[in-house]
């Protein structure tokens, strides 16, 4: 069977599972639609959260980023996992106890203000829409690369699948589909990693392989990698700091706070039956995430080493261009890998020196995508990687779309504009909002705005600087009032946007950047993507100052906070 046929079969098989689940898990109430009825088992919810969380970026791009950043790539590993500690201890159990459907709903009630709810809806929609663009692009790219259908057709097939299970099943359909998608993506990620680790070190567990010696030698893999990189003039893999330790500190902190403040992740914890379950479910989510996140550093280092050793097996030897391996030819054809024999000796040399380097392009995404071919694995594994990439992108897109559509139907329509609609009307409205959100995401996938590349960082910045502090203060500081919370959200958001825009350009149009995207102008050398933590500190400071100067919240709000602080008396999520 050709690779093409195998890929069609495996991707087709996974898609038919997703559709089967959609038919089985239909939502019949708003509670089903928003929180899957509130009775998802905490371990199952952990698995769904892991799929919701791990996007095309985690699956395809992260190991590639780490491969080229070395130690500096640790900011993603720690940042995107450590946020779950904050979520489990500072937010999830209390928001579950509050027992409603959306994040803006909590902010609106805790700060007794429709204005606060609308500010939260705006932050949520901006953060989620920017995030969803990347997923739609990931779906289109995965289809066009693996199934050789045009990008647009691929995008439409992806939208169609999400449409079926998200519009019919809401959170219920999405949750069960995400569980299936997790299984597909984790197999697709770990199987090639196990084989590569076995090839290079003889140890089948990639996490141990990374710390082992190379097969048939006494040299540790990481020492070997450091050595070959030094010889080629690159920085050492294990000590390559990203800009500065201060920058890495702030970058990690921004990603952690941002992770804990992303609404599509938070609402997953509304689906478990109890407060107790919300705590343990965050732990299970992190277990399932960590299986991929602790494998990624091994994939990164091993793929980098494999790539270098293909081009320059040992000192002085070079890959003869005409005898290059098949996987190199395949990826050259996609344009993601390119060579230029500058000195015309028929051999390729790789070097940190741009003048003599003959490897003119290595797209970072190759590190994961070409992995099975580099290791010489059978076609079904390569096809599984395609299905895994699609599962990662689809599951994250669906979670984001649910967060967007529930903010529209539940917070704006039911909460603010038309409180009198019945449950059936609201359910209908939520399906229409979901369909609308898919159309919008699809439109943005067809016409990605110029700023698409920088937007995921913006989503984390917004979540860190606006949503997280408002939620945390609402639970841990009784005295926080409406004025303080709104001023804090606007200040945090404002400072973060200002910093990102002044260095990256207004709405990411580079020519409007008035301070230039250059390290000399960065505040304490902090890159714009790492600024969310500073925005969060601004939010906290402004919120405290303003709340001290204004009237305390009313007595019933103090009682509400006391109520959510204890688990007893929790009901399943209720509509109101």
């Amino acid at each position: 069977m050709t690779l093409q046929t195998t890929t069609y079969l495996i991707v087709g098989f996974t898609f038919s599972i997703y559709i089967g689940i959609a038919i089985w898990a239909r939502a019949s109430t708003t509670k089903d639609f928003y929180v899957a009825g509130g009775h998802i088992n905490p371990i199952a919810n952990g698995m769904a959260t892991a799929a919701d969380w791990m996007s095309a970026a985690s699956f395809i791009s992260m190991a590639g980023l780490i491969a080229f950043m070395g130690y500096g790539g640790s900011v993603f590993l720690m940042g995107w996992t450590g946020g779950y500690v904050l979520l489990a201890m500072l937010l999830a159990p209390y928001l579950r106890k509050f027992g409603k459907f959306t994040v803006p709903e909590f902010i609106g009630e805790r700060y007794y203000s429709k204005g606060a709810r609308i500010v939260a809806v705006i932050c949520l929609i901006v953060a989620s829409v920017t995030y969803v663009i990347g997923q739609m692009k990931g779906i289109g790219v995965a289809f066009s690369r693996f199934l050789e259908v045009p990008y647009e057709i691929g995008l439409m097939i992806g939208m169609g699948i999400v449409f079926i299970y998200a519009v019919m099943g809401g959170m219920k359909g999405i949750t069960y589909t995400q569980i299936a998608q997790y299984c597909v993506l984790i197999l697709a990620y770990t199987i090639p990693a196990i084989f590569i680790s076995l090839n290079l070190t003889g140890n089948p567990i990639p996490q141990l392989g990374l710390g082992s010696t190379m097969s048939g030698s006494e040299v540790f893999l990481l020492d070997r990698l450091d050595q070959v990189l030094r010889d080629l003039g690159f920085l050492e893999y294990t000590t390559n700091v990203r800009l500065s330790l201060t920058n890495m500190f702030m970058y990690t902190l921004s990603l952690m706070i941002g992770t804990a403040g992303l609404p599509h992740v938070i609402i997953r914890f509304f689906t478990v039956p109890k407060v107790k379950d919300a705590r343990s479910s965050a732990g299970w989510a992190l277990v399932f995430i960590a299986i991929l996140y602790t494998t990624a550093p091994s994939v990164a280092a091993m793929a980098r080493l494999n790539l270098i050793e293909t081009i320059q097996p040992t000192g002085g030897q070079h890959m003869v261009y005409d005898e290059r391996p098949d996987w190199v030819r395949n990826w050259e054809a996609t344009g993601l890998l390119a060579f230029e024999d500058k000195n015309g000796d028929g051999m390729i040399s790789y070097s940190a020196d741009a003048a003599t380097n003959e490897v003119t392009k290595i797209d970072r995404d190759i590190m994961v995508l070409a992995n099975p071919e580099i290791a010489g694995l059978p076609n079904w594994v390569i096809a599984l990687v395609a299905a895994g990439g699609l599962a990662a992108a689809l599951s994250t897109a669906a979670g984001l779309l649910l967060a967007i559509s529930s903010a529209i139907s539940h917070d704006l329509l039911k909460g603010v504009f038309k409180p009198e609609i019945s449950e059936q009307q609201e359910l209908m409205a939520s399906r229409v909002a979901m369909a609308g959100a898919i159309m919008l995401a699809g439109y943005l996938g067809f016409n990605p705005p110029d700023f698409a590349a920088g937007t995921v960082a913006l989503a984390f910045g917004l979540a860190a600087s606006s949503i997280f502090p408002a939620l945390m203060l609402g639970i841990f500081y009784k005295r926080m009032n409406k004025e303080g919370a709104i001023a804090g959200m606007i200040a945090g958001l404002g400072v973060t946007l200002l910093y990102v825009f002044q260095h990256k350009g207004i709405m990411f149009i580079a020519s409007t950047s008035y301070m230039g995207d250059m390290p000399q102008n960065w505040f304490f050398g902090i890159e714009p993507n790492a600024f969310g933590a500073v925005g969060a500190m601004f939010n906290f400071a402004v919120a405290f100052a303003v709340s001290k100067m204004t009237a305390p919240p009313p007595q019933e709000i103090i009682e509400l906070v006391e109520h959510i602080r204890v688990p007893s008396g929790a009901n399943a999520p209720i509509s109101h």
Partner: protein, 85 residues
């Protein structure tokens, strides 16, 4: 309310302890002290590098389950646990 306030302060102490450990394994061992720790090697891993790319994540998982377990106990001790169905 005094019953609940002792529950709440016990909770805050527990969260505080967990967040200190959270900070130590990631920010302290993985970033601030990475250079001195890298002088120590565990197998092929430099220790600071290991904390940044592996160890911190394992500790995060252990922390959440430890917190969930201790909170379950606190809930019962202060009689604020949810009804078992």
């Amino acid at each position: 309310m005094s019953k609940n306030s002792s529950y709440w302060s016990a909770n805050l102490r527990l969260v505080g302890l967990c967040l200190v450990i959270w900070f130590v394994v990631s920010y302290l061992f993985g970033i601030i002290l990475v250079e001195p720790l890298n002088a120590i090697k565990i197998g092929g891993y430099k220790l600071g590098f290991w904390f940044a790319q592996q160890g911190s994540i394992y500790v995060f998982i252990a922390l959440i389950f430890f917190y969930a377990k201790r909170m379950g106990k606190l809930d019962k001790e202060h009689n604020v646990h949810e009804d078992d169905e």
